[in-house]
Amino acid sequence: MKLAGFLLLLAGWGIVLSAVMLLTSALPRGGFALAGMGVEVTGLILVVRSHLLLRGERG
């Protein structure tokens, strides 16, 4: 789960960079950049949850 979380963080960054490089009008570019941030937040939640689970297993 932790690895998936970090991969999502990287994927979100990729979306943001792609939006900047490929889109020219302000609204779609901003929208896709925000969507990329959303993916990053999802990745961050996964990493956090994996640490919580790991801590729970260790007691």
């Binding site: 970090f6 963080l9 990287l10 994927a11 979100g12 960054w13 990729g14 943001v16 960079l17 900047v20 490089m21 302000a26 570019r29 901003g30 950049a33 925000l34 990329g36 941030m37 990053e40 990745g43 961050l44 956090v48 640490h51 919580l52 801590r55 729970g56 260790r58 007691g59």
Partner: protein, 448 residues
């Protein structure tokens, strides 16, 4: 739009810049005292020695290889081209001190400032790893930060890298703007602190078997509050020097920067005191101190481009964020961060970076030289440039710093054994306590 170029500094500007850089070590002293005061008394000497060691390691590693990868605007760099746009991703200076400019030029002042700033960034994770992070591991982790993570991101922001070029290449306002290092110093340090806190795990006795956190208060509130005043002095220097060197701010603008920095810290500390007063019945000294530092951190990015009223707003939001983030990390995320480093530096720093996109107004001269923007450049897309910077911090810097520290932990376990925590870091790693004349008793290690 034109290419990025070196900011011109008059003789007055140069003298003022040198004076400001001389103040920066006070910020380091402030952070070291905050970390020590918020830790346990039996780890106080260890905490101060660790601070000294990481500043030393950071400075050495940075001048040996860090500056070679960070560079400065207008100096050699590796560039690749995507769809006709240049992406400047890393500097191409010679390693081992050979490329270090020492001629009094803006590049040499920037190298000097960076040598001190990287120490500041390296002090931040010490707050999160307090009472359980081995001294040698602190130094090794700092070497990774000063040699790789920090120079890479700082090049993108301050060395004419691709983040700074977002305005030139893609019309995103003036490109990613951060005058005093809210992102490259504070958030990079704060995210490294998060990685360290995750890797080390919480202190023994911090969480019960049911997952409820126990309060382990800092051992010296006076030291922590005094450190806030020291940090203000350092931040004034950091923000003023950074704004002049990296955004082309003229010397006269330092008055506005100093006023904004002070107002952000003041409003942030006061709102923290008020919120803790309302929630707990009395103001909390350590959280108010965290609020003060959080205000300084948040002020760094936008200090040269906002009005004093906006600086107060930035401080108010930063203080509120810090208070709730400290609680959120401790209660919800089970992250044991004795110094509040993650909330103060990462959370408040990200807010400060975003605040540039929401509130900054760039005068016609400021930034035009450094960012390559023409006088007609629109600032309407500035928030997207700032968002790209935040996305890079979370999507690239956090995985990178976690991965580096995780690998280090595989080869050299970073956490002290249980016996070390029981004895205290002073006795276990240094052989003597910071306060040998005081006998201390604690039941932190009683089975709950």
């Amino acid at each position: 739009m034109t290419a990025l170029s070196v900011p011109a500094l008059s003789e007055t500007g140069m003298a003022l810049c040198i004076l400001c850089i001389l103040l920066v070590p006070f910020a380091g002293a402030g952070l070291a005292f905050v970390n020590t005061g918020l830790g346990r008394s039996r780890s106080a000497a260890h905490s101060m020695l660790a601070a000294l060691c990481v500043i030393a390691v950071a400075a050495l590693v940075y001048v040996i290889c860090g500056f070679a990868w960070q560079g400065f605007i207008g100096r050699p760099a590796h560039v690749f081209t995507v769809a006709g746009k240049e992406w400047n991703w890393i500097a191409a200076e010679p390693l081992f001190l050979r490329g270090l400019p020492l001629d009094g030029s803006p590049a040499s002042l920037a190298a000097w400032l960076q040598m001190l700033s990287v120490g500041l960034a390296a002090l931040i994770p010490l707050g999160a790893g307090a009472d359980r992070w081995r001294l040698r591991a602190c130094c090794l982790s700092t070497a990774l930060l000063a040699g790789l993570t920090y120079p890479l991101f700082a090049h993108w922001v301050w060395g004419g890298g691709w983040l700074a070029q977002l305005g030139v290449n893609y019309g995103l306002g003036r490109g990613f703007v951060d005058a005093g290092g809210a992102s490259s110093i504070q958030v990079v340090g704060g995210l490294t602190a998060l990685a360290i806190a995750w890797i080390l795990g919480p202190r023994r006795g911090k969480y019960s078997l049911e997952g409820m956190p126990a309060a382990i208060p800092g051992h010296n509130a006076v030291l922590v509050l005094f450190a806030c005043l020291l940090a203000l002095l350092g931040w004034l220097g950091l923000n003023c020097a950074g704004a002049m060197l990296f955004t082309g701010a003229e010397p006269g603008r330092t008055v506005l920067i100093a006023v904004n920095t002070t107002l952000a810290a003041a409003s942030s500390a006061l709102v923290a005191a008020v919120i803790t007063g309302i929630r707990f019945g009395k103001p909390d000294a350590s959280l108010s101190a965290n609020g003060w530092i959080g205000g300084l951190v948040a002020s760094s990015a936008a200090c040269a481009f906002v009005t004093p009223a906006v600086a107060i707003v930035i401080g108010l939001v930063a203080g509120t964020l810090v208070i709730f983030a400290v609680e959120w990390f401790e209660l919800r995320m089970a992250v044991d961060d004795p110094g509040g480093a993650i909330s103060v530096h990462a959370v408040a720093g990200i807010w400060g970076v975003l605040a540039v996109g929401f509130f900054a107004h760039f005068p016609s001269r400021v930034l035009n030289v450094v960012s390559g923007a023409s006088s007609w450049s629109s600032d309407s897309n500035q928030w997207v440039a700032q968002l790209v910077g935040v996305a890079t911090l979370l999507g690239f810097v956090l995985p990178l710093t976690y991965c580096l520290n995780w690998l280090l932990n595989r080869f050299y376990p970073q956490r002290v054994p249980a016996e070390g925590e029981r004895q205290g870091m002073d006795l276990y790693e240094l052989g003597a306590g910071a306060y040998p004349e005081f006998a201390t008793y604690t039941d932190d290690f009683m089975q709950r």
